[in-house]
Symmetry: C2
């Protein structure tokens, strides 16, 4: 495995990595492992209508453990975001489907699949676990290029979360730990993310990005996420390993 | 009921209020209602070892609804903070007991009852709900005087959370909503909080502050929280309505 670490002092340092089971977080997990971090993977059962992505998250973590030879602990935390409603991914709202990726530009800037404050909730749990573990590093696979409509995927949001986190914890305020939120994909296009993952040996056939998968996990091919993913594989010149329903 | 509102434009504006069932959050709920907000109460079942405080939260919300004549919706969200461990309130760690409140000063500055990143997690859920509701105001009963050992009870932490929140949501970034985190007790002593609650008609006999209550809900009288509460009633010159085990 290629080691992309630029700082050998991080070897073996514990990091919490948010893993959704999608393409982006699979790439981030591989990047954090390649950088030398001892990774702990964190996923959420958050009232989403399908368990397909949690199955994918488990496959992604198992594959990265096997490939790197380092056992990656994986926790799945139950949270009841669906109770608060407000999104096609947690409430009884239909996921929109399109004929083509070109249609996406015609949508309102924030799609109905946006889950209110989701990344803030996810990062808060990652922060809690990091403090318990004595870890200073949190990785998240957000991306401001393809998800520019999501406010909590932007660099200025991530910087503000990091500032808050460094005032929030015992570790940061008492023990001098400087918490860092790493978002290595934030400025990459989907094609660049796929290119990075290919270098790192990520098997994207294990991942699931679909907002509206079939019961057997097959991707719909027509939701925003499927269309962006397929366009990314085309632009990267990489064969799309997605199993469509 | 005395109306402490200084700005009549807030009358009927929706606010999310974090209600734990303790003395502080009962006071904050009453203060937010007195200020004219249309309150939604939010509590958490977060892996704590006792359900006593959720029973108290339900009593507090019901009493405030009855007293104000405004029905206050109360949501209890399940979150699995206990899975991530690290605190006497969620993990298998003994809650410390003391003979007297004077002993508390001898402790390390952050007690074992501190739950890592708890207020960040709670405020994140409040933020999610506020966005779904179209609310711009979140109330939390943190207090930097008696809980100065908790990093996430300090004004600088709350200000950083507010800054982050205003970058995190669709409402703040698209619709020009300015989210505010209100912590009206942050600079008050426990005696001052009790004095405020007495003015607002809070029935502290309904609240539960104990970290280690008996099965019937009776307070232990010797944990940090019981000692601070009892000292607060003494200093305020108010009869302590707490039912001790």
């Amino acid at each position: 495995m290629e080691d992309t670490a630029t700082d050998s002092s991080i070897d073996g340092r514990v990091a919490v990595v948010l893993v959704s089971g999608g393409l982006d977080s699979a790439t981030v997990l591989a990047a954090a492992v390649a950088d030398g971090y001892d990774c702990r993977a964190l996923s959420f059962r958050y009232g989403q209508r399908h368990a397909v992505e949690l199955d994918a998250a488990a496959r992604v973590v198992a594959a990265e453990s096997a490939r790197s030879g380092r056992r990656i602990v994986h926790e799945v935390v139950d949270i009841d975001l669906g109770r608060l409603g407000g999104s096609a991914l947690t409430a009884d709202i239909d996921v929109p489907h399109h004929a083509d990726v070109a249609e996406l530009a015609d949508e309102d800037s924030i799609p109905v699949t946006y889950v209110p404050a989701r990344n803030t909730v996810f990062l808060s749990f990652a922060l809690a676990w990091a403090e318990v573990l004595g870890a200073a590093d949190i990785f998240i696979g957000v991306n401001a290029v393809d998800y520019s409509g999501y406010p909590d995927c932007r660099p200025e949001y991530l910087a503000a979360f990091e500032t808050m986190a460094n005032l929030a914890t015992k570790a940061a305020t008492q023990d001098g730990v400087r918490l860092r939120i790493h978002a290595p994909l934030v400025e990459l296009t989907k094609a660049e993310i796929i290119g990075l993952g290919e270098q790192l040996g990520v098997d994207y056939g294990l991942t699931s990005s679909c907002y509206d998968p079939a019961d057997d996990g097959g991707a719909c091919g027509t939701c925003d996420s499927c269309l962006l993913r397929a366009a990314g594989f085309r632009a990267a010149g990489v064969a799309d390993p997605t199993r469509y329903a």
